[in-house]
Amino acid sequence: MSFFGLAGPTMALLLAFTAGVIFFLYWLRPPPQRVVVPSTYIWTRVLKERKRRSDFWRWLVSLLVALAVGLALAAALGRPEIEALSGKVRRIAVVVDDSPTMGARTASGEKRFDRALQIARGLLREGSAASEYLVTDTAGRLVGTEFGSRRTALERLEGLRVSLNEPSAFPAADPILFSDPETEIYFVTDGVMVREAPSGVLVVSVFQPVDNVGITAFDLRPVPAEPNRVEAFLELMNHSAEPKRVALRVDGASGQTMERAVSLAAGQVLGESFELDRFSAGPVRVLIDAPDDGFELDNVAYAYLGSPRQARVVLVSSGNDTLETLLGLDPRVSLERIPPGELPESATPPDLFVFDGVAPAAPPPAPALLIHPGAASWLPVPSGQEIENLSLAGTAREHPLMEHVDLGDVVVDRAALVSRGRYQVVAGSDEEPLILASESPIRFAMLTFALEDSNLPFQSSFPVFLSNAVSWLSGTEVVASSLGTVAVAVESGVVTDIDGKAVAARASAGRTSFSPEAPGLYAVKGSERELMVSANLLSPRISAVNDSALEGSEPGIPGSESRDFRARGELWVGLVLFALALLLLEWWTYHRRLTI
């Protein structure tokens, strides 16, 4: 016999404790109360006619009944199983798809993930007590766990949640999962994010079509021609099978609201923009409301609107007309020029430094744009070599520096060869980085080449690039992130949500990481740096909750009609019934004075 609900020693302790308590209570029975009556004449006549039973035997029977009841109930708590009744020994592995689309809520109100857990529990309980069980997931949280008891597997299952991180895959490389060819592997999935499973795996579908209109993009951008004006850009997708009328609402920090209603045909993608001239600086939230929407996570998105103020820019250069002219033309920029080596140590640092051909020995007290700066300990390490004749081959289009920027025709005659290290490559040739960006130790962007060694200044996109650099480097630092785990380059930062509530965060290697469970705007405040994180789902792939490889199949395990998922050999129900029957018997005998 094994116990499914409690570990063996705990169960033994519980049984011993129960028996001890019952015996102690019976042993402690107080002596009968002495009652003086006028006469025992009638009582004597009554008792003479009744056959006297030994009190000890009645006490013993009563004690045994109480012990049987108590032990049966205690044993039922442990959910015992008898191997002989529960069938052959099997190895059962259940892989639960915990990708974001499993959070979709079907017409019945149940989430796909809840249904998946229900099926997984049924699969686990179907096996015998002596079988081995494994639960793992597609987000990699449980990959590498060993086969074990059903109780352990169920405990692991209860700890699973829908993962908000996009990457999800069947753990095909998990050696433990495939260590024994006899293992029965079940994969419970909606077939959206994880579309394939290795052969031999029995796929259990929990897919049911769900109406969903989701936000797949949301951003605040300066109007290119008027950098002081900002507009919100919104992209919606209708993944429902029928047209939807969607109410849009954009909320500002000071109560400003813009509402709009749009219609989307089935499968339509729609872009909408909102002019935020009336909006004050602070959080901006967009909400959509579509009827019968079954996926909430993509119905809201957050962004942060920076303060529209003059940026004080200090250009440290021995003379660069192009830079001076372009920066001077930006209406947001108040430009100061100083020659190299005269970096002021004023009390009020500027909003942005632009270093042309020079690099300060230590990180400056404000964000910086560095153009072919040379060597400095806090900058990407130059190898001392230079490379020539490079053409720009790739850019990180999602980076704020690259918005509306096309550098496809840029040719660089000569550039410093630097190690890309932990810096983000914003643009580069096939092999070498040409434009790098970093958030640590300060926010900076660096060109590895001098402007005069390239045709970049002659590109039509260069003023836009420079404007993006001013916006990104001098504005409030806002990091756009997906849900799941977010890590930002803030040392020992304290994370708070939009309402000021503290969010659990971890600090390691100079970075602060936290796990937003829902779209929101989070402030990360470190000792030297503060930034905002807009964590949104914004994923066309996730919002496409009906794009399933299992589309059309009925939910449930194949052949589930004939399977009731109830564990075989579980005795707890019988034990409880036995205890109830004994209690009834005890009640009956007590009132007839057979027991005490």
Binding site: Q33, V36, W43, L47, H591
Partner: protein, 295 residues
């Protein structure tokens, strides 16, 4: 009289007056007090004539009739005899229970009957008994004796076990006139009642048994498990009270009462049963209704 104030207070005396009225209404004429005896004799009330025979007392000869009829005619008068009433009050320890106690209740009943008896010019004796006659007041006659009886009853205390048989044998062992024997008791006599009653029956007494029980005896309420101790002899019984046992007790109690009632009925005796929660005057009226006490 401080003693009178304790048990037979003003309230009690008012109730006695009430009982007096009730008794006179129920049996009009009898409050004049005399009980006519069966034998003819020396009374003052004329009953009949008969011829004179030798040996008759010449003072009863009707001389006017002799002058008219020239025959000696004797006037016959009913002899007026007082009825002896023996009031037995159980003073055993078992009577010291209930609220009020059965003993107090019995004493009040005895006092009321004694009062009515004295008003009827009967001869009233009050006897306290337990294992035997414990105390008694000699036979009294006349309403002015009521205070002595009250005082006697008030001084009585409870003690000892119950033995009716021994009591009757002791009391009626000496020569006593036949009369009405009233026994106020719970009749919980371990030796049984029949020997005692047979003794009274053989002596041809008229008997009225008043069984007084407390509500606690009728519906016992103990803990589930109890050690019952007899107040008289200290014997004990350990028992677990259950509905079944209570039912058995109830049945046995009824059987006991029915046995007593059946005996009384069989020999034309009076029987009344009461609980101490019932006002004693109600019991006395019930006794009147049975038409034995007042004749």
């Amino acid at each position: 009289m401080a003693a009178v104030a304790t048990l037979f207070d003003e309230e009690f005396l008012k109730k006695l007056e009430y009982l007096k009225l009730i008794s006179s209404r129920m049996l009009p004429g009898h409050m004049r007090g005399e009980h006519r005896a069966r034998k003819k004799g020396t009374g003052v009330e004329f009953s009949d004539y008969r011829p004179y025979v030798s040996g008759d007392d010449t003072k009863d000869v009707d001389w006017k009739a002799y002058l008219r009829l020239d025959k000696l005619i004797l006037r016959i008068f009913d002899e007026e005899a007082d009825l002896p009433i023996y009031l037995f009050v159980d003073s055993s320890l078992s009577m010291d229970f209930g609220e009020p106690t059965k003993f107090d209740y019995a004493r009040k009943v005895a006092a009321a009957l004694a009062y009515i008896g004295l008003l009827n010019l009967d001869r009233v004796s009050v006897i306290g008994y337990s294992a035997g006659v414990s105390e008694q007041i000699a036979s009294r006659r006349g309403r002015n004796q009521i205070w002595r009886i009250f005082s006697f009853l008030d001084r009585m205390t409870t003690s000892g076990e119950t033995s009716l048989h021994r009591t009757f044998r002791t009391y009626f062992g000496s020569k006593r006139r036949r009369g009405l024997v009233v026994v106020a008791s719970d009749f919980m006599d371990p030796a049984g009642l029949e020997p005692a009653f047979d003794f009274l029956r053989f002596q041809r007494h008229d008997v009225f048994n008043v069984q007084i029980l407390s509500p606690e005896e009728m519906k016992p309420q103990f803990p589930d498990e109890a050690m019952l101790v007899d107040s008289e002899n200290g014997s004990s019984h350990r028992l677990r009270l259950s509905p079944t046992l209570l039912t058995a007790y109830d049945e046995e109690m009824k059987k006991h009462q029915a046995g007593l009632e059946a005996y009384c009925s069989k020999y034309g005796w009076g029987y009344a049963r009461t609980e101490t929660s019932i006002p004693f005057e109600d019991l006395v009226i019930q006794i009147f209704r049975q038409d034995r006490f007042l004749r």
